[in-house]
Amino acid sequence: MDFNDSPEEAEFRARARAWLAANAPEVNWAQLDQSDEPAMKAAGQAWQARKADAGFACISWPREWGGGGESPVMQAIFDEEEGAYGIAFRFFGIGLGMCLPTLMAVGDAQTCKRFVGPALRGDEIWCQLFSEPGAGSDVAASRTRAVRANDGSGDWIVNGQKVWTSGAHYSDYGLLLARTDPDVPKHKGLTMFWLDMRSPGIEVRPIHQASGDSEFNEVFFADVRIRDCQRLGEIGEGWKVALITLMNERLAVGMGSGPGWRELLALARELPGADGRPAVEDQALREKLADWYVGAEGIRLTRLRVMTALSRGQAPGPEASIGKIVSARQMQDVATEALDRLDQFGIVAGEAGGADIAAFDYNFFFGGALRIAGGSDEILKNIIAERVLGLPADIRVDRDVAFKDIPRGR
């Protein structure tokens, strides 16, 4: 057990730190207008390109695709140092965290050569088109159809609808899971494709969320034509490809963001509690803060264990799967507690409330969403029970049934 940098790591950190000092954007991060998406995107792309030029984009990717060829630990070190500048762009996570690793795993050399570089530089942004209204927890129940064009071209014609697609509206490309054969059991009739998000027939509509925001989209496909060379993996093997993406999703998604125990502690120091004493003196709150620290820090440390395994060339262990279960619930709980401690003032939203309360409000809703997104609490516990602990799968009534014959309700 050693938390100190090894000589190599220390050298890398010094290099990263020096580079960041010379190159980090000279903006006042707190004052950027996060809602001005085009400006944020331009700034993000510029920063990503600058990192790529210096070899600091995708540090742990193979050198042949433009990555740094370093261990994941080095990436974590860079992230730490970059984090100190408060730099955080939301545009590249899904592409670089999920789509491109999938592409690199199953795509041919030509496809990788075409896409990895531009994605890594931030020139092209990717989204992931998996979830559907009728296929949430049960991703493999996707109904979006891809059928061969009847013109002999070998092309595919896509019709259907995806949902909860982060960034579909600013993405250039997407990874599409589609049903190519409804007459076989559901896992066997899926095929994976990449596609140009500007293809004719694609319509992106923002979802009006329960929180009032619109961070996700619905994507509609009406006779969207894609070529067979856009297929990733064999026909009918889409589920296997999807599992690569989902595994990467589980590693990538999962950290709660926004106010946590630290911000609640800060708030509680200012807030009047019982008898006018600061709320932070309330032992009930203190015990919860301790438990939330244990949860948040435990997840952070668990990620370091994963990284250690990766840097030793081992597969990440099952411990990676606990992150979102803990952090999503905690996101919701911490926000609820903050509102409780604000007492009557907790109902105040918007400008009258102040930015710190708005952040807790956001998490009050978004914690609920995070408990669902990327695998609900229930699905993740099933995954732990089945894949980690080796317990029997739930009784499956749809396993050997042709997809079209599976009961699906309304």
Partner: protein
């Protein structure tokens, strides 16, 4: 002993439900949610007034129906079910109760018939900022029968005709009635709230005329009474909301398929709904006891109200969150109603002060009863 609604009350409750299903479909609540300049649904408010509900417990001599508080509890439960977007809680559970408890005859004569007739909308203005309400730290003052200070948040403060304001004068803390519609020196700023189906405001008093309610310097005790009485009625609204969440979650779970069967057939969902049920039944029992304590005099009320409120907050909070969770992604869309309950459950949880205040009151009552 008789620990249930009477047959008459059950009839009243059924009729109320029927009425509200027609008069307050979810579209009515959403019409307030979706438009910034619509603080409440006036047509529904008028209909509720016509039903006589605002005057349920107001004596007949002052224009009310002279029914008991248990009848009002029955109505509250039904209003909670439909997330009614009207200032009923502020006007009836808080304002009218305060006047009934502390008003002199002339105040009752002036205000109660107006409430019963739907002409008066009340609100309670106590909070002055972030954190737990500290009576000792309140800065709103009365000098020469004029109010000075600012209150935030005041639920329904933007639409109310009258406010009960907690403020200090030379005698200490007291309650004061302000006629918001006519008094000069009242400035109201609507504020955004976590639950837009209930409006809220900041109210600034700059020498506004006011009138004392009840004895001088007794504001702390009066406020306790007002809060305790309202807590029981809030608990019924919470109960109605929590029950509705359970029903909604159940209905959705019975029609949503995953892996080829309805999600209601999975133990994770079954046990989640069972957990909601358990919490709701505990909340119901405490609400019932609170209803009895409302009528049976003061001695049991602080404990009964605190328990009803703690159970009510916990059950509605849990039911609203797990209803959304049961719905999955679709539950996180604006178009599906899960978030309306989530918002209202928070509004009701905070409007009379957060859960830890009430837990503390509860334990203090237990300590007082279990002296060695």
């Amino acid at each position: 002993m008789n620990f249930d609604f009477s047959d008459d009350q059950k009839f009243l409750k059924r009729e109320a439900r029927k009425f509200l299903e027609a008069a307050c479909p979810i579209a009515t609540t959403r019409s307030v949610l979706d438009s910034r300049d619509k603080p409440f649904d006036e047509p529904l408010w008028r209909k509720v007034v016509e039903m006589g509900w605002t005057g349920t417990v107001i004596p007949e001599k002052w224009g009310g129906s002279g029914l008991g508080h248990t009848d009002l509890c029955a109505i509250a439960e039904e209003l909670g079910r439909v997330i009614a977007p009207i200032p009923f809680a502020s006007t009836v559970y808080v304002f009218a109760e305060a006047i009934l408890a502390f008003g002199e005859d002339r105040q009752c004569e002036r205000l109660l018939p107006a409430i019963a007739a739907g002409e008066a909308i009340g609100c309670l203005a106590v909070g002055e900022g972030r954190g737990r309400l500290a009576c000792d730290a309140m800065t709103t003052r009365v000098e020469d029968e004029r109010l000075h200070g600012a209150k935030i948040p005041v639920t329904d403060g933007d639409i109310a005709t009258h406010a009960i304001v907690a403020a200090r004068d030379d005698a200490g803390l007291g309650l004061f009635v302000v006629d918001l519609a006519t008094a000069e020196g009242v400035r109201r700023e609507p504020i955004e709230s976590l639950d837009p189906t209930r409006s809220a405001a900041r109210i600034v008093f700059e020498g506004a005329e006011c009138e004392r309610l009840g004895a001088a310097g007794e504001g702390k005790a009066q406020l306790d009474t007002v809060m305790n009485r309202a807590a029981v009625l809030f608990a019924f609204e919470q109960l109605g909301g929590a029950d509705r969440c359970l029903e909604t979650a159940r209905e959705y779970a019975l029609e949503r398929y995953a892996f080829g069967r309805v999600i209601a057939s999975y133990q994770a969902i079954k046990h989640k709904l069972a957990d909601i049920y358990v919490k709701n039944e505990l909340a119901r029992s405490h609400a019932y006891y609170g209803a009895w304590a409302l009528g049976a005099g003061e001695s049991n009320l602080p404990l009964a109200a605190a328990a009803a409120r703690v159970a009510g907050i916990q059950s509605y909070d849990f039911a609203a969150k797990e209803n959304l969770q049961t719905h999955g992604g679709i539950g996180f869309t604006w178009e599906v109603d899960c978030h309306l309950h989530l918002r209202r459950s928070r509004q009701l949880a905070l409007a009379l002060g957060g859960i830890s205040n009430w837990r503390e009151q509860l334990v203090q009552e237990l300590e007082a009863r279990n002296q060695h």
